[in-house]
Symmetry: C2
Subunit: 451 residues, 2 copies
């Protein structure tokens, strides 16, 4: 057989990395479910027509087709299938399809893989896992849900940090604020202004100013004001005064200022330090209508946003009813990929806490009995694959990062358990022994943490 090599852009993790990913996923799920978000999984495919509906031709969509298909089969875009490139388009379709069976306002989370045929590069994958939360309602969705989804994601980031992940900050802005400000400046083509300001990070302030005057009909003063607005970043709601000092008056601007200040204050009250007002955040996609957010991981800003989202008045519509929504997405693969590359892993490559030693092959049944007892009490364990010398069996445990080795007692002697890290060994009873809580789940290990 030809040598097997990875496929670029389709990452796969080793068991000791996958355990980290599972812990991250479990933690997100716990936070989302405590807040009433129900799990939804949509099928991996949508019709090509559905995926291209918004004319997102820049998304590199993967079509699927049976290898045994006939020549003309499945070429109609209304029937041809393709892999979803995000979780928002499928969710919008799911809401329309099941509207009669869902209870609104409907909170859902969705943790699934998505596929994009982009050129693979650092932090960009062709297959990756996202975690999305959204609240959607019929006709109208109260602003209180903008606060709620932001609070929930901040709570999630806080929990991820306690696991050992870097700090992640929600950079928040509001479309009404920017739109109102441009209107107040009497700029006619606010959409163009927004699109150009969105390039600030990539092309810098000089080029943005030049484009604003050449392409968006702005005067030099107007361009300067737009740039000043976009450069405001505060950790609290003090941005309001900074915006007001620019001297632009507009009702929509005031509404945006109020909304953004409310979100920032609410998050700072429960998860201080996890949010910033960042008036450079625009989000290219045009369906956002209020709150807009991009999340950045401290020390890994070069990755770009590891999360994003906001408010959209028209997440979905069936012609009769409109479904407004607000949601946030978090890139699990995008966050973990670079951390794995730096060596992040679990302290073991197995989910268990103990290895039960086998004294000799005749005593394997005794070892199995101990294992069954421990498992019955929720303590994961494996029975040693061989009845080799105890030193070798301990090495097996060590190789897997398993902290405890259990020795069944021979001839009526008590069983013993050994912490192979410290060497401590003492009598133990499989019906009562309890390892310290910290050892029952894998811990995260970093290469620079003296490991």
């Amino acid at each position: 057989m030809a040598r097997i090599t990875p496929i670029s852009g389709f990452p796969e993790w080793l068991p000791e990395q996958r355990i980290v990913e599972q812990r991250i996923t479990d933690t997100l799920r716990d936070v989302f479910e405590l807040h009433g978000f129900a799990s939804v999984e949509t099928r991996a495919v949508e019709t090509v027509a559905q995926l291209l509906r918004k004319g997102d031709i820049d998304k590199e969509v993967y079509g699927i087709r049976r290898l045994a298909a006939d020549a003309g089969e499945d070429t109609d875009p209304a029937k041809a299938l393709a892999l979803h490139f995000d979780l928002t388009v499928p969710f919008a379709r799911y809401v329309l399809e099941n509207a009669g069976k869902l209870t609104f306002p409907f909170r859902r989370y969705q943790i699934q893989k998505v596929w994009r045929g982009e050129r693979p590069q650092e932090g960009r994958y062709r297959e990756f896992t996202q975690a999305d939360i959204d609240v959607v309602n019929v006709d109208e969705l109260d602003f209180t849900y903008d606060i709620e989804v932001t609070l929930v994601m901040a709570a999630a980031y806080q929990r991820l940090q306690t696991l050992g992940l870097p700090h992640i900050t929600l950079h928040t802005n509001n479309r009404k604020l920017a739109e109102g400000f441009y209107q107040g400046l009497e700029l006619a083509d606010t959409a163009s202004v927004l699109r150009i300001v969105d390039k600030l990070d990539k092309i810098g302030p000089e080029k943005v100013a030049a484009l604003l005057t050449s392409d968006a009909g702005a005067s030099e003063t107007q361009a300067e004001q737009c740039l000043k607005l976009a450069q405001i970043k505060t950790d609290d709601s003090s941005f309001v005064d900074q915006v007001k000092s620019l001297g632009v008056a507009n009702e929509l601007l005031d509404e945006g200022l109020h909304e953004l200040a409310t979100v920032v204050d609410a998050v700072n009250a429960t998860s201080p330090g996890y949010i910033k007002a960042d008036l450079s955040i625009a989000r290219g996609l045009d369906y956002y209508t209020g709150t807009v957010i991009e999340s950045f991981m401290t020390g890994y800003e070069k990755l770009g946003a590891v999360g994003a989202g906001g408010r959209y008045e028209k997440l979905a519509s069936d012609g009769k009813k409109t479904y407004p929504g607000v949601g946030l997405s978090f890139g699990i693969s995008r966050t973990l990929g670079p951390l794995f590359a730096e060596g992040l892993r679990a302290d073991r490559n197995t989910p268990v806490t103990a290895l039960v030693a086998v004294t000799n092959e005749e005593e394997r049944a005794t070892a199995s009995k101990v294992a069954t007892m421990l498992r019955g009490r929720g303590i994961g364990c494996i029975v040693s694959p061989t009845a080799a010398k105890f030193g070798k069996q301990i090495k097996q445990a060590d190789k897997r990062g398993i902290p405890y080795v259990w020795f069944p007692g021979a001839d009526g002697a008590a069983d013993q358990v050994k912490d192979i890290r410290s060497g401590d060994q003492h009598d133990a009873d499989a019906e009562t022994w309890q390892p310290p809580a910290v050892d029952t789940a894998a811990q995260f290990v970093w290469p620079n943490a003296g490991d």
Copy 2:
């Protein structure tokens, strides 16, 4: 927009069904991890060459291709990608690719979606979720792992039944037993015999006997003996005597009898009733070399097997080393699809236990504070979307299947909590209140269970 309709063969579940699926998946994961199986997720795609390696042209493979691909791009089968149709082929590839980084014997579980472009029919999907466990080793894998994977899957079925799923039984056979028996009968083409006997369920004994004489060179007596063997089914190891009474002597047969009896006895010792010796089980695929298993769900036998697997001496090979394995697969979608169709669902469409009522919009912050306190102690809740009359808020909870409604006390009065099923209402403190354990997780509900 055109009316949105489901895509045949790509099932999606409502939140109250998805909660059931999550509980099933969590339970499988718990059992697998307690036994030392590490989670692995492989990418959704393999190269077309890899997938078609075994010449499984009957599998309907979905190729994937960028919609924006150039004409000649990715047509080489060594580079062209397709969606995996099972979890065994990707796992074999993963083991070869990462052999230097895994600790052997390597136990892994894998719960993922797979895709097959089959004609959709009852119990057959084009996208479905499977749960696989396998143990793989280098060069040799002890027979003790045949026992272990069978015990683990039996323990899983036992746990699923306590959740309310129907009984599932492991129908077990052994290739050595059948092969040795045919050799003992002096049938030359044992592979053909096996393939024909595998059709017993579909075409019945008369046609099998006819095929055995016409296509596999068997005499009528030989054909009769083969049929007698295949019709032996016992709940314990008494099949050994039944086989011996057929009067065929062969060493391989004896080895197979011993292995099968050992597996059946071991499972009966820990999970009585979850295994049967069923000598009609053949498993069409030719790579099995010892233990072979198909699982059937009581009352749903018409679905065919809901799980399958066995021992394969050559799961993978890189030309230098061979990796034998033993594993079992369980079809989550195949099992749940028909149960959902009959009405199985969770008693709520949200993961939470309580709805916190809002007395009036000014008091929403009070309700949020209660919610934060409850969540901090692991009790999931949502704050009422509206400050409507309490009767309406209770109806909101009822619609979602949430068992408790919390009323924040006004003007220094104590908070109260109401069990909306019984109507019981009493004073409660958000810092100490604990709902009964049975209410903290959703329960399974059946349409015929008086719901």
